[in-house]
Subunit: 294 residues, 2 copies
């Protein structure tokens, strides 16, 4: 197996090249919107969701070309959600991935529209995927729309907004993290499986894996926000505490938060044991995400 | 043929019932977002786009049940675009259809998210449609995503924002209207045809009809904004002039603006002549839109 670092770099390049093909050029009229879409999409993201999508396809014996449109669609949705989350009427954040946020560069109106356009193009890209085995393009579209809609991704952001400055219980925080983070991660992984025509048992294992990995990922995000500097993170550190936002460390304490992250990671690894040696890369990615420092 | 008024009322009721079925109930968690989505979606819109979609299906011999999900999807997209257009960072409008706008009722953050959720659910609803004849669900999804994306609906809003307070030429204004209004109207009509398995010639006629009807509709909107009161319109009147926005009357003068609206309407009617007697309702709708007072 290629070393993880090489694998991640190579996947990042492939995903960037595919995104570049799917997006209109920055010069296409009106250039302002295409520049804004590309500014946030190519701001140095880790491409975690697309890479998990591709690795899940691999774990089910699928082809990269079949998974790539889905991987790119999820990245467009992730980027749209960051642009809108950073708006002054939401989290009001000035930096993201070490660069000024969209509304700081383009103004609020264009930032709203750049998010809207990225969300919209995600579905245009999904429609370029082919159905596979039991899964039709309608199934793939439904998968993406549900994970991104008012019951999951948007629901998480709504609860996050409504809970700001309030006392939040462990179960409320779990509800937010399940929807804001875990749902779209799970969706990327399921889409990878679906692009490979996964059996219903395989898809169930991938779903368990995605849920637990997503939860581990968010708990670690909370921990890093509280312990790292802004330079290390490339975004404003300590902003959760400053915004009066509940986090795993603030509710459970740092030690129990770390234990939760470990527990979720172990559950994730266990969930894909049944997928056999082809899932080795997914396991390695889960381990890597637990140990990350940014 | 049923009288137009009866037809419009009955279609409105059917569309409202279908939208009600497609949307999560207001009580579904988190209720805030579902209330906000429903507040704007059921604020008394004329359901013009869904009705045109259903009439276009009828003109091509299609079934209402096949067109209805597409009709509803377009209405969700239209409503999302109104919510985002009304935001303080865009047109900053306090009233719409005689009621306070979403951000006045729910706050800006929830208004942004309600728009996002309506845009997202539109694609979930498209995925419930069935492909017909030469058109697959992927074709239907692509049709909706293109008309709503950075080359059309979003492009129109971007240019509208960027042109505010500037001197705008007739051709720039036409560019904005083509994208902000005509593209989604044309899309509704084409989707109706596609749901009926329209031939490529039929689809070409519907496209010409949609373009010209959409342009006529927007020119008349400009005229009404300048000549009617807020009470008559159910939204802030005279706001184009106040915002320093170019309109057909402000660029061409009222008389030439009216002549443009007539010209577009006649071109629309001419475009569907080839569809024969089944298109009588589409022709009647075009005539009705030209003579409307709000």
């Amino acid at each position: 197996m290629t070393p993880l670092k090489t694998y991640l770099q190579s996947r990042c390049r492939q995903v960037d090249a595919a995104l570049n093909r799917f997006l209109p050029a920055a010069s296409v009229k009106p250039p302002t919107i295409h520049k804004a879409m590309r500014y946030s999409l190519f701001a140095g993201g880790k491409r975690l969701r697309p890479i998990l999508c591709l690795a899940a396809a691999e774990a089910c014996g699928g082809r990269e070309a079949d998974a790539m449109p889905l991987a790119c669609a999820v990245e467009c949705i992730h980027t749209y959600s960051l642009i809108h989350d950073d708006l002054p009427c939401m989290d009001n954040d000035d930096f993201r991935r070490g660069k000024p946020t969209s509304h700081k560069v383009f103004g609020e109106g264009i930032a709203v529209l750049a998010g809207d356009a990225l969300l919209t193009i995600a579905f245009e890209i999904v429609a370029k995927a082919r159905g596979k085995g039991r899964y039709t393009v309608a199934d793939l579209t439904t998968e993406v729309a549900r994970a991104s809609g008012s019951l999951f991704l948007v629901a998480g952001q709504v609860m996050d907004l409504l809970c700001e400055g309030k006392k939040v219980s462990h179960s409320q925080l779990r509800y937010i993290h399940e929807r804001k983070t875990s749902a779209l991660l799970t969706c990327s992984i399921r889409l990878g499986g679906m692009s490979a025509g996964a059996s219903s048992a395989q898809l169930r294992h991938l779903t368990d894996f995605g849920y637990n990995l997503g939860m581990a990922f968010q708990v670690i995000d909370d921990i890093l926000d509280a312990t790292q500097t802004s330079e290390q993170l490339g975004k404003t550190a300590g902003k959760d505490a400053k915004a009066g936002k509940a986090t795993y460390p603030s509710i459970l304490g740092m030690e129990r938060a770390r234990a939760e992250a470990d527990r979720y990671t172990q559950a994730a690894v266990k969930a894909i044991a049944a997928l056999g040696p082809k899932a080795a890369r997914l396991e390695q990615l889960a381990d890597y995400l637990l140990k990350r420092q940014k």
